[in-house]
Symmetry: D2
Subunit: 320 residues, 4 copies
């Protein structure tokens, strides 16, 4: 999933060495372990142009979810239902607390505008790189050409066609130039170059907590982020959704791949019930019932708005 | 909804007087007000045999939700969609934060075993009557005959037939007698009668925080409970559900009635999209699509378990 | 800390076997491990007469806290301060987020009235034994004679002298008899004995979710409880405090012992700064300053109430 | 606190009109009202150069806190302690739940780098202006000369001397120029001017959600933010602290002024116990005791680090 080649560019030599060391230092534990996740532990998985996610630690597995659920059911548990059946049952009936019994910790490098969306998920723990304390790295997100989309005409919160030719070139030039210039002035204000050297020995540098305000929102930051599995699935359901902005979706997709290694049974149930699932309103269900009964209801008498009707028909595969 | 007659039995004379006073003391405010909710402000709404809910305070209304949503949309808002349309849109697309902008505070009297389920909803604020500090009232929940259900044979977490005749009488006698005896011994251990008088001047009374452990789980307690509207709707969706225990459902139903007064547009959207709505898994949606296309899929090749299939057919009105 | 002898009485044979199996099944991991905590992993630590706590899983250690903090400080970290120094600094300056990066999961058996206090700590995950689904065990908390305290005369929320002789005997008899009778009637209502056998083949049993309401608050329940280290320290600071009820303090004390094994550096900093620490108000600090300067301030002109003054003098070791 | 003159510059004419209308539309309510807060309801209180806070709604007052606390104490309350005494007691003993019973909602306009610190307070509700959906305003925070501080030499996370002359002028020029240029290019990428007009009819505009990444961190955003009083006091205690960055402290100070109008008794207790208060570790308390007893302890045998010792001596007014 991640190659030395690609990860090489993401990290400094010192970080590479630290990861190698962490990966080599094995110990014995009585806790449950997940070999497929251990395999990629600490390794950066590239996301966007300079970002990554790395699994730093984890607690629990599919069996731990089942074990927690069986505590609730006590002596009453019929052991006939297997683990996969029970996990499916829990997912289907929104019995969310057993999923909270697993926890995972990521190291994430991400553009600040993505971090601003991500942090809205409040039930998580986070330690972010402090730009009050330290100087930010000279790294900015510049979209790949295939993600340089025009504003959608129909959806104010979405993307339309991909920009081409001069339109695309102009945007990329502006993004690159402004980022470079803002960072250069950041250094000038700090009176300190990126390598730590002083620019003008006779001048005072602006406080880091102030100078950073000159940096654009595509500057990369990083954090440790820890979350329980239930809330992580909720994060993925919202952020791996087609309505989410592509840049955060790229992270959610990478997390989903990680989940397949960690809790494969849960991830499959989640994919079926949530990601591939659909919520119908009472009115929409009424239409579905009539269709199933062979009737041909019309939007006008369905109680659905035009937009709801269209979405329902699309979900039912009846477009066009 | 609540009558003097019924509320009279729920409250002491002092409490009645306090409520009267609160209701008479009107003031002017620049905040938004909801006349239909003001009408029942402070009034106890009876639930179960000795319980109630009372709205003590509230913040916001349907218009406040719309206003908060429009802050997000900024200049981009097409004002063409009316308030009801916007609220429907928010509910349908799980844009939950505007609903968090409303808040309500209840005074609730409820049996301890109900309180134990209720408190599991963590995103709320609560101040409970302290049985370390004060003596609990002599009030116990005794189910009405029509709620005295046998254990369900098919659902380990549910109720079956209503008990009748001797079976019912025996249960009611046991519940009443044990509650009365436990409370009497609670007083003996405290060496203090319910009216505050000492039982035996020569003896020492057990600490309240210890004596209370003799009381059964149907003893009534009370608390102030404050919650934002988004989390309150989540509470109602889980606790007014047929799978919830009847006793907490009775409270959730009373809250739902209150919501109709407070935020009628939101409550209607919630009823349609959540209470009357249904979640289909990807596999179930596949079956629905085939049915709508006129095919006749079988459970065996549907990817659904027998139970999921039955639930789907029931949802589609195809039982039997 | 726990002996086979004492744990033997806490668990069924099946549970003993399961713990033995879990403890023997070691695996290799790249995650950090804490040998001192591994040593007691899964083992029940007895609390009260029938309760226990068991560590089921954990994530992180003292080094993980330091590592998370260093992410925040980035390149700006002076590595001169050692780990203990940094942890002390974080604790002293309320930089709480690095402590949130550690997580621990307990299996706890506890009386219901203790569970009711415990659950008030909302930032945690919990899976409780369901008395809707299963039949509760016949186990009740009966205080040891040395904890059978009278109501405090001075503190409405506290305990006074220990009851002696007949007073004590009478209380113990009442608690034991009422618990036994309530449980017996619980079985009668369920129409099912503790061992699962039916009492009266011709009669219907009351639903479990209803029958349980006859049980007293000293009945034992159990749950899996998971919490991050920051919130766990907050729990301990409130519940291992002399103002907390003895019964929950017994659990908080057992947790504190566990913390010494898991995160010894953090636990020492916590003990110094929080458990042994004191918060002085601005007015109290004014008095302290005058005392240190050799003045002899009086309560009357201190701005402190009599009670605050007394507490301050006690904290300064100037009582009497 | 806010003048028409100063608020005039903060808002558009349409917003001014909306506020006027809101302020004039009074209604009657049975809820508690706070005249001193009603006086400034909806009015913007200026913060920094283009920011503000406005109180939009509130629930509860000092009396509501007392009422909630009395629910906990039930019949056991000695009514002898007045409201102020009870609130002081709650504050001193960290009985935080009654303060959670009050709620307040603000409309805040603030620079993005301040918003990034602010959002770390998770127990609150927020609706932010969406730069995916709408075009951000052309407004940037440029520090006033007296806040243009150099990096502190002693504290990596703090400010030192104020920049003067050329150093200051250079920084202000860079900040102003970069903000202006980035915003201009934001418009170019959007292919849309700030007034909504299209720049080049033949070209496609970049999606808003992408174009915004070119804007610097001192760009202003705005949100509705709702919080209970307990968590708001925690926010103020951390953000009105001298260790907080000046720019967020300016907002915390404005909130503190608002609190004096809303809950004056609570604010006074909070100021005394928390803002003016001090936390001493066990080791520090040992030193204080020895000083009070007339001894002259030395840092070397105090168990305190040099820095802790210095902080203690400063708190005791024994510097130099």
């Amino acid at each position: 999933m991640t190659t030395r080649a690609s990860s090489h560019r993401l990290l400094t030599e010192a970080q590479e060495a630290e990861i190698r060391e962490s990966r080599e230092a094995e110990s014995r534990t009585r806790r449950c372990s997940v070999p497929a996740l251990e395999e990629i532990l600490y390794e950066p998985i590239p996301v966007l142009d300079h970002g990554f996610i790395r699994v730093i630690d984890y607690m629990g597995d599919d069996a731990a979810i089942v074990q927690s659920a069986r505590v609730s059911y006590g002596k009453g548990t019929k052991q006939t239902r297997g683990d996969a059946g029970l996990i499916n049952y829990l997912m289907r009936h929104r019995h969310t607390t057993p999923f909270e019994m697993c926890e995972i910790k990521f190291h994430v490098k991400l553009p600040i505008f993505v971090a601003r969306q991500w942090i809205r998920h409040r039930t998580a723990n986070v330690n972010e790189y402090s730009a009050r304390y330290s100087v930010l790295d000279k790294e900015f997100y510049i979209p790949a050409p295939e993600h340089l989309a025009a504003q959608s005409a129909s959806n104010r919160q979405g993307r339309g066609e991909i920009l081409r030719g001069d339109d695309a070139a102009r945007v990329l030039d502006l993004l690159r130039d402004d980022a470079a210039r803002c960072y250069e002035h950041y250094e000038v204000m700090l009176n300190e170059r990126h390598d730590g050297s002083v620019i003008d020995e006779g001048a005072a540098g602006l406080a880091r907590e102030l100078a950073r305000m000159n940096l654009p929102l595509n500057t990369y930051t990083q954090w440790y982020w820890k979350c329980d599995l239930h809330n992580l699935l909720h994060f993925v359901s919202l952020r791996a959704d087609p309505h989410a902005q592509y840049e955060i979706r790229a992270y959610a997709d990478a997390i989903l791949e990680t989940l397949k290694r960690w809790v494969p049974v849960t991830t499959e149930a989640f994919t079926n019930h949530v990601m591939d699932g659909v919520q119908f309103s009472g009115a929409a269900l009424g239409v579905v019932r009539r269709l199933v009964a062979g009737e041909t209801p019309a939007q006008s008498d369905s109680g659905l708005s035009k937009r709801e009707w269209d979405e329902l028909m699309a979900a039912l595969g009846r477009t066009g």
